[in-house]
């Protein structure tokens, strides 16, 4: 198996090389980090519903729609990406594609455990520590290959992520930001000064345990040319604005099994609800002043998320 340890690459390269491998029918593992921040949509995300395009434009945040599953995410240099491309005839590839997440994510799980964190797979494809997500993952059939992609979250800009998405109210946005802060774990605080190079080396060792000896490769012209043409397509307005899944009311997934849902129209306005495993999550009662100028958390235990 080939491995491309690319270090820091441009924002679009951080997505396009694994697509290029897949379309070229070549297997490989890529490790990289994007030098610049950007916003990445899943294949079936609806641009108009999901993204505050004006905000992204004002912030100079480029958009790209990948060909794998999952939702919109804001990405920057503080996440380490791992991307595994397997041809469809690879014997590692199970009939049920999501079964392979348990294998592909083991190197990342081992890294969290090496820092003393009790990391586990949360089916189908999250890594969680004490119920908090610490790695986002997805997969997709691309060309004659399947790509499994994910990241280790060293640090994350919760505030910016909450601004990138289109949400119904400022209150919803604040709840969204807080829900992410409460339910996503970043590795930076737990690394005890370890540097990212060490983490990358551990990832490589982990993938070698799965796939055997890895051949270190550098980018060749075929891969670069294919990636450049894929960039043009994945960032074109026509591709970005493809219609995708839409929902009647705004419902954003925070982590596996946890959603922030806008209030049903006509029932109660301005009251987003956290729903975990189909049940309303216990509480934040948040009092918002009539002027919308202040937000005060006034209680922490109740059965309904209430904002008033």
């Amino acid at each position: 198996m080939d491995i491309y340890n690319l270090g820091m690459v441009s924002w679009w390269e951080s997505q396009c090389y694994y697509h290029a491998l897949a379309y070229l029918g070549r297997e490989g593992i890529i490790l990289c980090r994007p030098a610049e921040p950007y916003v990445c949509l899943g294949l079936h995300d609806d641009l108009k519903q999901e993204i505050d395009q004006e905000f992204c434009c004002d912030q100079g945040l480029p958009l790209l729609r990948r060909e794998t599953a999952g939702g919109v995410v804001y990405l920057d240099s503080r996440q380490i990406f791992y991307q595994v491309v397997l041809r469809r005839d690879n014997p590692h590839l199970p009939m049920k594609r999501d079964k392979l997440f348990a294998t592909i994510l083991q190197p990342a799980i081992d890294i969290y455990r090496s820092f003393g964190l009790a990391a586990n797979l949360a089916l189908p494809a999250d890594i969680q520590v004490d119920g908090r997500k610490c790695s986002g993952n997805a997969a997709g059939d691309i060309g004659q290959a399947v790509a499994y992609v994910g990241n280790l979250i060293i640090a994350f800009d919760f505030e910016l992520m909450s601004r990138v998405l289109k949400v119904p109210t400022p209150t919803y946005r604040r709840c969204f930001c807080k829900a992410m802060q409460d339910n996503i774990l970043v590795l930076a605080d737990k690394m005890n000064g370890a540097d990212i190079g060490v983490v990358e080396s551990e990832l490589i060792s982990g993938f070698a345990r799965i796939f055997g000896e890895l051949d270190e490769r550098s980018l060749d012209d075929g891969l670069k040319d294919m990636a450049a043409s894929i960039r043009d397509r994945l960032t074109s307005y026509e591709w970005l604005s493809m219609p995708g899944r839409r929902s009647r009311i705004r419902r954003i997934k925070i982590v596996e099994g946890l959603y922030l849902q806008e209030a049903e129209p006509g029932i109660r306005t301005n009251v987003p609800t956290l729903i975990r495993d189909g049940k309303i999550e216990d509480v934040h009662i948040i009092e918002e002043s009539r002027s919308n100028s202040a937000l005060h958390e006034v209680a922490g235990t109740s059965s309904v998320s209430t904002i008033f």
């Binding site: 899943g42 294949l43 079936h44 060909e67 794998t68 599953a69 999952g70 199970p94 009939m95 049920k96 594609r97 999501d98 997440f101 089916l123 189908p124 494809a125 993952n137 997805a138 997969a139 997709g140 059939d141 995708g244 899944r245």
Partner: protein, 137 residues
């Protein structure tokens, strides 16, 4: 007939991407087999070629998302899309509830009389499933 946990309906044709095809004259209904819907898992979203589009056997005519995976839907025959099932477009899980009935995916006008020639009968498809299971073990 039943192959382990999955039903294979005997009056349909199949392909090795787990689609069933019911041919009536120049028209055909296409859907995912019981085994096919199990392989994909919990179906969250379906993106299909629009009505009027031409589909080509062996080429992508849509995509499906389940959990954290997106897969391509590969056309089992050549033809033109007459109708996409609005029920499965709005409620993709219907494919899993009733794969051979209300969970049909698409109605097409076949490109030629010989479209069924490349498809498997139910016995051959049952053998295909058994082989898949054996290889996965």
């Amino acid at each position: 007939m039943q192959i382990e946990n999955w039903q294979v309906q005997e009056d349909l044709k199949y392909d090795n991407n787990n689609f069933w095809v019911e041919i009536e004259g120049q028209h055909a209904l296409i859907g995912l087999s019981d085994y096919g819907q199990w392989v994909i898992g919990d179906i969250l979203y379906l993106d299909l070629a629009p009505e009027g589009a031409t589909i080509v056997r062996g080429e992508k005519f849509g995509s499906v998302e389940s959990g954290k995976w997106v897969g391509n839907l590969i056309a089992p025959v050549n033809g033109r899309v007459l109708e996409c099932n609005p029920l499965v477009v709005s409620e993709p899980r219907q494919i899993q509830v009733d794969p051979y009935g209300t969970g049909w995916i698409m109605k097409i006008e076949l490109a030629s009389d010989g479209e069924s020639g490349s498809l498997l009968d139910h016995m051959a498809y049952a053998e295909f499933i058994k082989e898949q299971i054996k290889n996965a073990a």
